[in-house]
Every structure is written in structure tokens, then in C-alpha cells.
Amino acid sequence: MEKFEQDIEQKLAGFNVEPSPQVWQGVEAALHQRRKKRFAFWLWLPIAFICMATTWLLLSNDKMYRITVVTATGTNAKTKTSYTTKTSEENGAATEANTLTNSNHTSTVTNTKSRQQINKGSMLLPTKNSKLQIAFTSPNTSTYQQNKITPKNVKEAGTSEILTRTNDTAKHKTAIATITGKTVDTLPIKDSSILTVQENKKNTPIKDSTITTTVTKKQIEKSRKHQWYIIGGSGISLVKNSTLFTGTTTSYTFNSSVSASPGVGSSSRNVLHVQQPNTGLSFMAGIHYETALNKHWGIVTGLRYRYIQNRQTVTDSANRFIKTETNHAHWLQLPLYMQYTFNAFTGTRLQLQAGPSIAWAFSENWLAVQSTGDYQYDKNLNNAAILGINAGVSILSNKGVKFGVLLEQGLTSIHKKGNDSHYLQQYSFQVGIPLGLLSKTKN
């Protein structure tokens, strides 16, 4: 490098020019915009997950068989071959093991043809004059037993039907009456409502045999143990300065020394007052899973998306209105409730829920106080994980649909910094639809 270039480089090494504050504002605004775009991209992940989970649950609901293991023994009248068949089923996937005594290849084929296959569960039924004993090895206590031929007792649905877990009450009643030979009223309607019969459309019913069964209450209760719900709702959100119900909500002016210029950073400030947020709106959608511990008690959990919006008023030092700033927050929430169910009035039940929840604020644009007392939109000024306590009451219709109200009280202040604590309180109306019902409607 020549001396001229060296002189130039040296001369210009410390050349500085002060940029205007607008440059940082532009940088900040562009970065904020990018963050929003990135959030919009990542938002698809939980939505896609919820959609996939819902689809899977809807599609797999038909495969929830009550019958898990079937053992059949009998004698084929035509071939005089005795056989033992074990069929096990789980979620629609059947495996089969046949043990043939005195068998050869020909008789095996004949034997196979003489069997009746019920539905897609591969439950094998014997041929005429054979004896069948079907024992359920699942935890329930019911047994099926084929007695001697009593054609006069066999009704239309007959032995070609199997019990599956759906919500068709009418079919269930017919099936129970047919199979047990008793009136359905011997079982409480509310208990039987979760069982029904899936008809055998492919195979001809065996008319010269009959099956008797005992369906216990315990078994029925077992079948309604797990339930998935699609949950949706909306309500109002409040921001309070305490976790108690006595906390104030309106016209709360922060320290008079507060100077703020929302979203402007540390430059070009005017002296302004930021009022505590007014009442806002909240929307919620998600999926709940319920499991019954016993007849009354159960546990509810799930994954919910929640959108919260409210407004903050900015005034000048003389309390004159300047503008309104709108806050937005997007949460993913994991609830964990205890649920108590009891009979209310005909056909419905009342449920009380209470328990904690943890929410992850994965995106927000919320006017928050900094440690300096200034107000800014900044995700980093708010807590990302918010613990809350929930209490609710809902009515469960005889179709399994829920309607209820829920109160959520934040236990974690939404603002990370500053002297004031701000807790979200939300009241919402919610509707829950069981996935089984959606599946049936679709069919």
C-alpha cells in the first residue's frame, strides 16, 4: 500500500457521524415486524398439531373395541374336526391362532369356510351344534355364553352383533334386550348410553344359536372412563393489581413521574400517563382429555390456545386523552383440573372443576412497564410462563355436550419488571363437544 492510501486510511479511521434517532426507530420497527412474521410461521405448528391430533382421534374412534380377547372352542359338524381359536383384538388389529386337532389341510379349509366372521373384529362363531364359550379376559367382568340352540329366543339382531363403544343409545337398548333377554330398564339409561351395537353388515346372522350375556354396571362405567372434548369459548379479560377479587381495575394511573412514549425506545419522549388496561376480550379453543377416577371424580387436562386482547388509555399530565393502545397476547395453556360430577336433573349432570393451569405466552404486543418506569411494547418485559388457578361449573347434557363458565385467575404478574404487579383475570363461557359425537355426525 502506498503512502497516499495509508494517509487516507489513517485520516478516515476515526470518522464518525451521529445518526438521527429515526434510524433506530426504523431498525426497531423492522425487527418487530420480523418477529411477528416469525411468530405467524411458528403459530402453524401448534395449530397443525391440534388438527392432526383431532383428525387422528376422529378416525380412530371407531376402532375402540370393548372386546379384546375372545376364545372359541367348538366342533365343526361337517368335518368333525375339533378346534380351538383364539382371537385377540386391540384397536381394530386382530390376530388369530387356530389349533386344530385331528386336522389335515382339507379340513382346515372347510373349517375356515364354516365360520362366521363378525364385523372387522374377526370374532369367530361356531357352526351349528357346536358349543361356544367366549370369555372376556379384559378387566371387565362380563361373559358371553352360547347355550344350546333355542331358535325361538333369537331375535333379529341376534348373535351377529357385537358390542362396540359408541354413543347410539337406541341401538344399545335393542342389543342389550336381545342379548340378555331382559328389559333394558334393568340397567340405568344413563349408564347404558355409552354402549351400542354395531351391526354385522357383511355376514348373515346365525339364527339357530343364541348368546346370553351379563353386562355389569362396572363394565359400563369402565367404557366411559376416557373422553376427548373439543373445547371452545369466549369471554372477558381484566387486568388487576392484585390476585384478590377486590383488586381495582379502572382509572389507575401509574406513578406521576412516569414518562412514556410507547414503542419509541428511549428517545423523543413526551410526559404521558398510561392507565391500567380496561376490560378486554378473550377467545379460546383447544382439546381436553377427561379420565374418570370413579363415578364422581375425574381428572381433566388438555391443550388450549387463548387469545387475549385489551386496551390501555394514554393521557397527558393533565389527564387529557391522547390515544388508546391495544394489547394482544397469544397463549398456549395446559390445564389440570379435578372434576366432580353429580346428577342434576333428568338426563343431565352437573360438573364442578377446579385446578391450576400453566400458560406460555408465545407471542404478544403488550404495553409493559420497564424498571425505569417507562412503558414500551416489548415481549421481554412480560413473563412468558403464567401460572393460574381455574374454577368452573358446567352442565353435561345426555348427549355428552358440555356448557359452562370458567374463571381463571393469574397467579403470576404479566409484567416481569417494574414495581406494580398486574394479574389477568378471565371469565369465559365454554362449550365442549365430545369427539365421539363429532365422529358420529360426520358419519
Binding site: M1, E2, K3, F4, E5, D7, I8, E9, K11, L12, G14, F15, N16, V17, E18, P19, S20, Q22, V23, W24, G26, V27, E28, A30, L31, R34, R35, G265, S266, Q376, D378, K379, N380
Partner: protein
């Protein structure tokens, strides 16, 4: 020199950290942008665009080098892109090489303050200004400069010589004016 913590916080999109880093380099980088452009508004545009790139690509920075040099490189690249993109610079960037006159390689004394020198460089046609900045100030060689500007190496070489000649002429002119003023002052 910013700490690793500050850089990490910037990568985590912490606004306070980003503002601190911006404050640390804004004025020196504005100086860089100012040298490449013809107006303060254009310089600020380049600075803004450059800092957006800095914050979005900061995770690519390897801690073995100087962050200032890394940011400066981004600013220079941003400035060059800006000049190539905007019409008012675009034409001047494509200087016809054939019209160039033979140039001398003498090295006059630079008896100017920094601001005056920068203004002299900014008075050069845009193409010369850019090449002069890249070669004489940033220390890029002709091949690197040609690659950056997507030009022929010989064109870069001759344009640089031409820019240098114009500048030395200006410097001499400035020097003789100063001397005349000093002389008239003595009378």
C-alpha cells in the same frame, strides 16, 4: 468491544441489548455509510438496512474476530447493494472506461481535516467514489473489489487510478488555495 453476553442477548432479541449494541457502533458505521453516499438521508437508509442485517445475522458471527470489523463489512456490502439498486447511483456506477485519461501516481500531502477529506471523496462520481472507498479506505484489493461490484478487474484498476488522480488534483488545488490565502494574509 461488546461482551459475549451482550451478543447473546441480541441474538435472543432482547431490545435493551440490541439498543446498546446499536449505540456502540451507530456513529462509526454512519461514518462508513456517509462516505459511500451522496446525502445524509441515503446514508441513514443504508445504516438502518445494515443494522437490520446485523441483528438478523448476528448468530452467524464467530467470536474469534472483531465484531466491529464484521459489522463494518456488512455496512459496506449494504452500501454497495444500495448504490447498485437505486437509479440515481446506478448510472454513475457504470462509468465508461474508454473515456478515461492517463493518470499520474504521485502522492500529495493530505493537508485537510477528516471532514473535508470525506467531502472531497463524496464529490467524486459515484462509481469512482465507491471504488476509491473500497480500495483506499477499506483496503480491498482490485480482485475483491471487482467481485463485489461485478466488474472487470481492469476496469476497477483504471477507475481507481482515475479516482485517485481526480482526488490528488483536488487536494493540490486545495493546497495551493490554502497557500495563496496564507500568502495574501502575510501581505
Amino acid at each position: 468491544m461488546p461482551t459475549r453476553e451482550l451478543i447473546k442477548d441480541c441474538i435472543k432479541n432482547k431490545k435493551d441489548a440490541q439498543f446498546a449494541l446499536y449505540n456502540l457502533y451507530a456513529s462509526s458505521m454512519m461514518g462508513v455509510c456517509y462516505r459511500y453516499t451522496k446525502s445524509i438521508e441515503d446514508a441513514e437508509d443504508v445504516l438502518q438496512e445494515g443494522f437490520i442485517k446485523v441483528f438478523t445475522k448476528l448468530h452467524q458471527f464467530k467470536h474469534d474476530g472483531d465484531l466491529g470489523a464484521w459489522i463494518r463489512r456488512i455496512m459496506v456490502n449494504t452500501a454497495v447493494n444500495y448504490l447498485q439498486k437505486h437509479n440515481r447511483y446506478k448510472k454513475e456506477m457504470q462509468v465508461d472506461d474508454i473515456k478515461l485519461h492517463p493518470v499520474s501516481n504521485d502522492s500529495p500531502e493530505i493537508d485537510l481535516d477528516t471532514k473535508e477529506l470525506v467531502e472531497l471523496i463524496r464529490q467524486l462520481p459515484s462509481g469512482y467514489q465507491t471504488i476509491f472507498n473500497l480500495v483506499a479506505v477499506e483496503g480491498y484489493d482490485h480482485i475483491e473489489t471487482a467481485g463485489l461490484l461485478e466488474m472487470n478487474v481492469n476496469t476497477v484498476r483504471s477507475q481507481y487510478s482515475r479516482a485517485r488522480a481526480i482526488l490528488t488534483t483536488q487536494l493540490r488545488l486545495h493546497f495551493s488555495t490554502q497557500q495563496k490565502q496564507a500568502y495574501s494574509g502575510k501581505i
